[in-house]
Symmetry: C2
Subunit: 301 residues, 2 copies
């Protein structure tokens, strides 16, 4: 592993080579990673999750956020979670193109991560990577994920502020499907809000928030046209307000607790010798009436 | 806890009172549940997951499946997972109405379960409940869930055969969103396939399966009009074929392994004293540079 001071010095001057190599080492859990992680001294850098369906304009919005933060002299890290399915390739490639204006900027670090199937696998390494990014001089950390399957739920469990990006064109069914997103949103963005139905759509979301028994003064609905920078300042203000509220409401404690639980789970699962378990299972399944609870007992402590 | 023989005797004559009470005891983890579960002698009853977006006709399809199986003299249990959000109330109520023809039938047991937010909470109790149902005389177990958020991924990890139900009307974006469903499907049903675009839609799914590098002879796409019973026999044949293939491909071992892992995780999380952890965290977070890995260390073994 590289010395954290050397990585930080690189980040300071816009040279992300050591950081990129370290991220690979953390992802691959090379020898020494545990000690390295336990020696990190992270700062309280906010983690902003950005999720929503393909085509909602997440990357354009992130580009716009980066543009504003750069003006304030901030250093920004973006982690993009690629769902592993090849179905998403189009969307992700499109995203990369939209964000490419920042790829060579010395204040912006962008990295795509493959999502893994293994229970707790993605979040465990995301906790490690975001803690690393918090420790090497970044001011803002953005986690981007496409709102399909469970990856956005996992990402929301890591972000201090989760922004759900939607567009005013979805039919009834889409809105129902998106209701999975309702439960993870700290803020909603109605992007491409120069479209005719934007106002109606935004009102509809406000109504859903109220029906869900939540507070529309807390879960704000912000209208943007990210490609023209419209509404981006409003979004930044809402993100800042949300983060100020976090510590007041004690939600930050719940968030850290959930991360600790996820680390415990990931550690427990890593302890299991899968090959040995598979062999034992094959044997046990030969019995006619296999009881999974009796079998599992041997792995409990 | 009731004696398993008494519950089984009730199921045999269509009296589900003891079963319903036992399910509540298992869900609430009353004293003695662990011993009760470990004494179960489950049969190899197939678990069929049925998922898809609201309005796809899942309940109508399940009703049609029940109708066919009843004719064969089977006993059927249906567990419906209610996503906890109030947004879904409409859909679920509608589902109930559509399935109500079976509510009083002595060969059919239907129970709705609230999904819980806690990590691993839903699946852990679903493993317990399906094992219970496998032990008291049912021939088929159906797990129904609305395809939003992570609940359908969890359910797919429990089902021997996961059937994804879609309708030929969804736009491009919906199809992208559904791609989260692509990864969990063992079989696709294009329901309401008397609609004009059904053929195109079914071909589109076949194409997506091929693009995903999967075998269209294994992941079949079945056209149904559930409300008229059209295609239901094809679906039953496909389910049967899939279940015969399960043991040949060894996928059943992977499935049981995943369940064992989920039970281990749930047990580990139950061991944590959340209140104590929260107090310790509040204290630790006072330090300026809180390291989550050092903090988590105390909970690892």
């Amino acid at each position: 592993m590289f010395a954290i001071n050397d990585i930080t010095a690189g980040v300071l001057k816009g040279d992300f080579l050591l950081l990129a190599k370290t991220i690979s080492s953390v992802e691959n859990k090379v020898q020494g990673v545990d000690d390295f992680l336990q020696a990190l001294l992270p700062n309280a850098v906010p983690i902003i999750g950005v999720t929503g369906p393909p085509g909602a304009g997440k990357s354009t919005l992130i580009s716009a956020l980066i543009g504003e933060w750069i003006k304030e002299g901030k250093k920004i890290a973006v982690l993009s979670v690629d769902p592993s399915s090849p179905f998403h390739k189009g969307a992700i490639l499109g995203d990369r193109i939209r964000m490419k204006e920042w790829y060579l900027h010395p204040s912006v670090f962008i990295r795509s991560l493959a999502s893994r199937g293994h229970l707790g696998g993605l979040t465990s390494s995301m906790i490690e990577l975001t803690t690393l990014l918090q420790s090497v001089g970044f001011d803002k950390i953005i986690l981007e994920t496409v709102g399909v399957g469970q990856s956005e739920v996992e990402v929301a469990s890591l972000a201090d502020t989760t922004v759900v990006v939607l567009v005013p064109e979805a039919g009834d069914e889409v809105q129902m499907m998106k209701s999975g997103l309702m439960e993870i949103a700290d803020l909603f963005v109605v992007n491409k809000s120069d479209r005719p139905d934007a106002e109606t759509f935004a009102n509809h979301i406000v109504q859903m928030i109220m029906e869900n028994g939540q507070d529309v003064n807390t879960i704000k609905v912000i209208k943007t046209v990210a490609s023209q920078g419209v509404g981006v300042q409003d979004l930044i203000a809402a993100i800042n307000t949300h983060q100020e509220d976090l510590s007041k409401t004690g939600r930050n404690i719940k968030l850290v607790m959930s991360k600790v639980e996820q680390l415990i789970v990931a550690h427990k699962l890593r302890q299991i010798d899968s090959q040995k378990m598979e062999a034992a299972l094959k044997d046990a399944l030969k019995s006619h009436q296999f009881n999974i609870f009796r079998f599992t007992n041997q792995y409990l402590d």
